[in-house]
Amino acid sequence: MKVFSSTCTFDYSWDEVSTANWRKYCPWNDKATHVVGVDTLSRTVDPKTGILRTERLITCDQSVPQWVISLFGGSPTSHVYEVSYVDPVSKKVTMCSTNLTWSNVLNVRETVVYRPSPLSPNATTEFTQEAQITALCGGWQKIKNKVEEASVERFRENAKRGREGFETVLEMSRRVFGEQRDLEKQLQ
């Protein structure tokens, strides 16, 4: 098993980040063109805690390196199952994802958390990401290591692009929200 982790801070409030997070893979995000579908499967508010639980299916094209496809076969389309939890009181979003495709070869478990940043909780948000990657294919340890290393590398590249793309979505969301507010004021 290999672990990939990263953290960063966004200069936007937790409310803004947690809202924009739902549109992370929209056309504003030109860095996530590999995401071709985002579907909501279920959504409930837990009556005891008030926590919003959402299940989504994320569909990507070309998420694995070409040589992995050549080695194990299959199509370049892959699916990810994501369960997220929003606690509006403690202001915490947790997103847990696991791969549906390639699950007999590779198990990827990712946990992402968005929380108000301790230094400036009203204006900035801390993002932490951790992925556990385990190659399951039988046989040589060498191949398992190679698959895990390639996956970690792919994760690293995508994490950087993901951050850049999300920055664009945050900026656009703030602008559009501001315009909407101005429009509403004019209409009053």
């Binding site: 739902w22 071709v36 985002v38 699916h79 939890y85 699950s103």
Partner: protein, 79 residues
Amino acid sequence: MAASIAPECNDIKEKYDTCFLKWYSRYLRGNGQSNDCDELFSKYKTCLHKSLKEKGIDSMLDDARKSSSETDAEFLKKS
């Protein structure tokens, strides 16, 4: 908003997503009791499930759901 995996569900999905985002901003302010989006969501789900079944994704999801009880136990509690 991102597209649906099933193009035929895109229209209803977009309506639902828009409704949800409006609801979400109220929910963050502690007013999430309403269920205005339920009808749209139920239509969208009907459309989507048909496609997931056809594509064989529903059985993959059933397997993945088995392990979500662990994360539910951890994150579906008051922190």
